[in-house]
């Protein structure tokens, strides 16, 4: 069972790093990184996003699926067969450990859009997001954990360090990893509801809550996103996808939409063009302002973004060591895996911390 019916009211921990030189490493460091903050989670959700892990299939969308029944799998595979070419499918390797119970069926598919279809499709990525939205909202018991190229989300109900062992993350090598330890407050602790939330190669891990969820999701549904995961965090993924991928905003401006500067601060900006730009962003994208406390790590191929709400109601610490940028909820966690960083600091609220693969981001 995916356990969607449970609600156990009970903060969260986030951690992530990017090796900007592209050096890939296995999941051991991220496991230790997030495990340091065990006190912040309560065993009702843990998960990881890993980038650069499928180099041999890097040109295919990797669909990580969770099924609560055989029927859900059959329906999903029938649906996929109509839409895409599955070049490879296999169970996601796991190891049985007592700490993780009642696993749904976990399967992954490497897919491509059929050559004949490509001509009719204007936006290949929108074609994939439609598939994800359709599966999540219409096939009972089927849930897409991630759908990007050369990346994957691995999540479960449990403590994150156990989730890492469950998914054998020591056997994957990525240049960027993010992690989450969950302490669900407003929404149930179920497998699909564990972080990260992911769409295409976007993934988000989040500490906090989005008080503006209602207005955000109504706006995103008008733009074709279906919020079906029973959690506030999914709006952050769709917001980045809409602003950056579809509307072409740079990440720094997307951050100004989500953690918008106050009007009084915009009025103080001396440069008239910049003032006008920030005004316009607030007016056009008012419905995407994320209100309430949040500290998030957003990742996509070649890029790691840390962002907090504009009045800093959740903590975040960043550090640099050589070519690596590390971001986490707590400094101690950073020092657990990077004892003597070149620099360690507390970022300004609402100002994104960005790490990028050298030589430019590799977007599909």
């Amino acid at each position: 069972m995916l356990g969607r019916d449970e609600r156990i009211p009970s903060g969260c921990a986030i951690a992530g790093f990017i090796n900007e030189d592209g050096r890939r490493e296995n999941g051991e460091r991220i496991r230790k990184f997030i495990a340091n903050m065990r006190e912040r989670s309560n065993g009702l959700g843990g998960g990881f996003a890993a980038y650069g892990i499928y180099p041999e299939y890097k040109d295919y969308y990797a669909l990580h699926m969770m099924y609560s029944s055989r029927k859900a799998r059959t329906e999903t595979e029938t649906f996929l067969a109509e839409k895409v070419v599955v070049v490879k499918d296999e169970p996601i390797p796991t190891r049985k450990i007592p700490e993780i119970g009642d696993s749904p069926l976990l399967w992954r598919y490497f897919v491509e859009i059929p050559p004949l279809r490509r001509r009719e499709i204007i936006h290949e990525e929108c074609f994939i997001t439609d598939i994800v939205m359709t599966i999540n909202s219409t096939i009972d018991g089927a849930f897409v954990a991630s759908s990007g190229k050369n990346m994957g989300a691995f999540k479960a109900v449990g403590y994150p360090e156990d989730v890492a062992r469950f998914y054998c993350l020591e056997e994957y090598e990525g240049y960027m990893w993010t992690a989450h330890g969950r302490f669900p407050t407003n929404t149930p602790g179920w497998w699909g509801g564990a972080h990260p939330f992911s769409l295409l190669d976007w993934s988000v891990v989040h500490n906090g809550e989005i008080s503006s969820y209602g207005i955000n999701y109504r706006y995103l549904e008008e733009q074709g996103y279906k919020c079906s995961l029973m959690t506030d965090t999914e709006v952050v993924v769709y917001a980045f996808d809409l602003l950056v991928r579809k509307h072409g905003l740079p990440v720094t401006l997307a951050a100004k939409v989500l953690a918008a500067p106050f009007w009084k601060d915009i009025d103080k900006i001396s440069d008239a063009d910049e003032r006008q730009l920030l005004r316009a962003l607030r007016i056009v994208y008012g419905s995407l302002l994320l209100n309430g406390p949040f500290s998030v790590l957003v990742a996509r191929s070649g890029e790691l973004i840390g962002l907090t709400d504009r009045i800093k109601l959740r903590p975040m610490v960043a550090a640099r060591q050589g070519a690596t940028l590390l971001v986490a909820t707590e400094e101690a966690a950073i020092r657990e895996v990077c004892p003597n960083p070149d620099r360690i600091w507390i970022p300004e609220a609402g100002t994104p911390i960005i790490g990028r693969l050298k030589g430019g981001a590799i977007h599909a």
Binding site: K268, P315, E331, A332, E336, I346
Partner: protein
């Protein structure tokens, strides 16, 4: 003087605190905690004037409800250092994250470098108990938010051209006093605070605290004092007294 060394690296916060309490019960005057890596509440529940030296990164809520120990950290602090501190002293050779000294009601905290958001939020004084926070570097936004009593001193050392404090200073403040070395843009002040002239008594307080700061961390007291200081105090001690009463 007996010194007890505790290797914290493999210990949970509970085990670590049990070790500290056992050492204090056995008469240790100094407990040296090595390899701290995120354990919360270090020094909580220790009601003795013992010296706890911490190497590494202590976890959040360092000395929460602290009631006597003198704690020295050779490293940075996380969130809520001195949460509801009652008595004792915390000296941090580094910077600290948000909500430093949240709700503290006694004792003193000295931070060598900068402090994150909401330092001194809701600190309060009662009769002879007067909590004190000294921040050597800068303080990020919302310094002294809802402050109800006590003293905050921000020195802004090493800030160069940056302002010593962020925006929204003293928002909701209704007691106590904030001293800031350097200039403060009045746009950054909460509407509940006003700038007041410094009295001789204020200078005595500042001089004393800067002297202590330099004793702990080094520095030239005279050079630090040779700068303008700003005093902030609340306009009224009950800013919201009539909020729900028409």
């Amino acid at each position: 003087m007996s010194i007890r060394v505790v290797d914290a690296h493999k210990l949970s916060y509970r085990e670590l605190n049990n070790e500290i309490r056992a050492a204090v019960a056995a008469g240790a005057a100094t407990v040296k905690v090595e390899g701290a890596c995120g354990q919360r509440y270090i020094g909580t529940g220790v009601n003795a004037p013992v010296h706890i030296e911490i190497y590494g990164t202590p976890g959040s809520d360092l000395a929460a409800f602290g009631n006597g120990p003198r704690i020295t950290v050779y490293g940075n602090g996380q969130e809520a250092v001195g949460n509801t501190l009652n008595a004792g002293e915390i000296v941090i050779h580094g910077h600290v994250n948000d909500v430093l000294g949240v709700s503290m009601r006694g004792g003193r905290i000295f931070i060598r470098d900068y402090a994150g958001y909401r330092a001194g939020i809701h600190m309060k004084a009662y009769r002879e108990m007067k909590p004190v926070i000294v921040i050597g570097g800068t303080a990020q936004h919302f310094l002294g938010e809802y402050m109800a009593g006590g003293v905050i001193l921000v020195l802004g050392l090493g800030a160069d051209d940056r302002p010593p404090v962020g925006d929204y200073v003293g928002t909701g403040m209704h007691g106590g006093v904030i001293y800031i070395r350097g200039r403060v843009d009045t746009d950054c002040l909460g509407k509940e605070v006003s700038v007041l002239p410094l009295t001789d008594a204020d200078w005595d307080t500042i001089r004393g605290l800067v002297g202590d700061y330099c004793r702990y961390f080094g520095g030239d007291t005279r050079a630090i004092l040779d700068a303008p200081f700003v005093k902030l105090a609340p306009v009224t001690h009950r800013p919201y007294g009539l909020l729900y009463v028409p």
